[in-house]
């Protein structure tokens, strides 16, 4: 008996983005100011609170930490928790991702 053809099921190779590139869920993006970031100022990995608390593991350790915008959903926890207030959540349309009319509708 030959093997039946594989039916259409949910299957994929493990790879970044296989569960969806969640960055396009984001309405606001975290923007880090290296002049305020404790780690960036010291040039070591002193703080890393944003890295530790990101629920999607989108922040890479480093000086300064880097945010992976392919996957960051824009929850804002990093901005809320940063002891130096170095992270601002900026509307996506300010970065040209999505322009919005006065009534809030995307165009």
């Amino acid at each position: 008996m030959t093997a039946p053809a594989r039916p259409r099921i949910a299957i994929s190779r493990p790879a970044a983005g296989e569960a969806g590139r969640t960055g396009d869920w984001r309405a606001k993006r975290p923007v880090l100011d290296p002049a305020k970031c404790l780690t960036a100022k010291r040039g070591d990995v002193t703080c890393q609170i944003c890295w530790a608390l990101c629920p999607d593991a989108c922040i890479t350790r480093g000086a300064p930490p880097r945010v992976d915008l392919e996957y960051c959903k824009g929850c804002g926890i990093c901005a809320q928790e940063c002891p130096a207030g170095a992270i601002e959540m900026e509307p996506e349309q300010a970065h040209g991702v999505c322009a919005v009319d006065d009534d809030g509708a995307a165009r």
Binding site: A3, P4, R8, I9, A10, S12, R13, A15, A19, G20
Partner: protein
């Protein structure tokens, strides 16, 4: 398991276990629940004695039982479990996972009433409640059919990559003894060879995500190949169920050629040729209806029986062909969609709707929670339906048999 065909007296549960052993099932995982427990107790004893070369995984719940089967089936094992009623309800989430992963798992359901109130006796509410989960559902009329259908189930499952529930009435069949012919192992081996290459090879050097999130849209995977979205996967699954309308009778015929018994494929009938009134049911109730039909025939009422063997997929074309030109069809359900009517009745009405030569279709409810139903009561229900038909009654409500509404 014997080198020769042998007939012995056994329960429905023993027949199911004998089928699993003949199928050379490799992994069994189950949790006990009445009236299914003797199936897996018997299999466990055979594994312990070395008579069955299989892995028996004792688990802490039905949810885990089917989860173990899902894992084992994913890597290519022939797997089996069995349950009833609240056990099936407890594993319901995994029932959907097994179907969506297209795994050829066979599960026996010893049909039992759902709580509350607590009840261990027979009706078909349990399996009917998961009819939409994407499994094939076959209903058996006697213990021989349980053994034969369970063996056929793996053949069907492995051809279509779909799981199959083999449903049989708790206690009425599960604990009732009758002669069952057990085919020789060599004959079964020829009918049911080892499972072909598994659906999904789990290879650590070339790993896969199985069952990852699939959202609304089609999308390109990591290699840039466009992959189906949720709706494409579901449509494909549905097509597989519809293909079973051909495969179930084919396998039944193959079994007949190999073993010497066939069960009618999708449906089964008794004295149907010239019948004007057709009594319809699934499971052992169909056997009881043959007695009622013979009683009605003795009174000059041309009655016959149409048994629903495959309930999912629902054999619409076969039922239309069998019922075309009849005067009436009375459907006896042992399950209820609360707030509407019996599920087989609803499905049959829908199948016949708009057919130019469709019979009147009536519904009857019986046997819930093991309530006794005799052939005489079934015949009485048929007489009532016929009388209402002749009187031109429209929108006839479901007829509850042997109910004491005053209590």
């Amino acid at each position: 398991m014997s080198d020769v065909t042998a007939t012995s007296v056994m329960t429905g549960n023993e027949a199911a276990a004998a089928a699993a052993r003949l199928a050379r099932v490799q992994v069994i995982a189950a949790y006990p629940i009445t009236p299914q427990s003797p199936v897996v107790e018997q299999l466990s004893a055979w594994v312990e004695s070395g008579e069955l070369d299989a892995e028996f995984v004792a688990v802490e719940s039905e949810h885990s039982a089917l989860t173990v089967c899902i894992g084992a089936s994913t890597v290519g094992a022939r797997t089996f479990t069995a349950t009833s009623a609240n056990g099936l309800a407890y594993m319901t989430e995994q029932v959907w996972w097994a179907a969506g992963a297209r795994l050829p798992i066979v599960m026996c359901i010893a049909n039992r009433a759902m709580a509350a109130p607590w009840n261990v006796l027979n009706d078909q509410q349990d399996s009917m409640s998961v009819r939409d989960a994407g499994w094939i559902q076959l209903y058996c009329r006697d213990n021989q059919e349980i053994l034969d259908t369970t063996l056929q189930a793996w053949r069907i499952a492995e051809r279509l990559q779909l799981p199959v529930m083999v449903c049989y009435d708790g206690f009425l069949l599960s604990h009732t003894v009758m002669p069952v012919t057990v085919p020789a192992a060599v004959e079964v081996d020829a009918f049911l060879p080892p499972r072909a290459a598994p659906l999904t090879v789990v290879d650590p050097d070339d790993p896969r995500n199985i069952g990852p999130v699939v959202l609304a849209d089609t999308r390109a995977d990591a290699e840039g190949i466009l992959r189906p979205g949720y709706m494409e996967i579901r449509a494909s699954h549905h097509a597989g169920l519809l293909e079973a309308l051909d495969v179930i009778p084919e396998v039944d015929a193959e079994y007949g050629a190999a073993i010497g018994r066939s069960w009618g494929g999708l449906t089964w009938e008794h004295m149907l040729d010239d019948a004007e009134l057709v009594l319809v049911a699934a499971g052992s109730l169909a056997t009881q209806l043959t007695v009622a039909a013979e009683t009605l025939r003795s009174e000059g009422i041309k009655a016959g029986v149409l048994g629903v063997r495959a309930y999912r997929p629902f054999p619409v074309a076969a039922l239309r062909a069998k019922l075309a030109g009849r005067k009436g069809a009375l459907v006896f359900d042992k399950a209820l969609s609360y707030g509407y009517e019996g599920p087989i009745c609803t499905d049959l009405r829908a199948a016949m709707c708009g057919e130019p030569d469709a019979p009147l279709v009536w519904g009857a409810m019986c046997g819930l929670g093991g309530r006794e139903v005799s052939p005489d009561q079934l015949a009485d229900a048929a007489r009532r339906a016929l009388a209402d038909g002749h009187a031109g009654v429209r929108d006839r409500p479901t007829d509850w048999i042997n109910l004491h509404p005053e209590l």
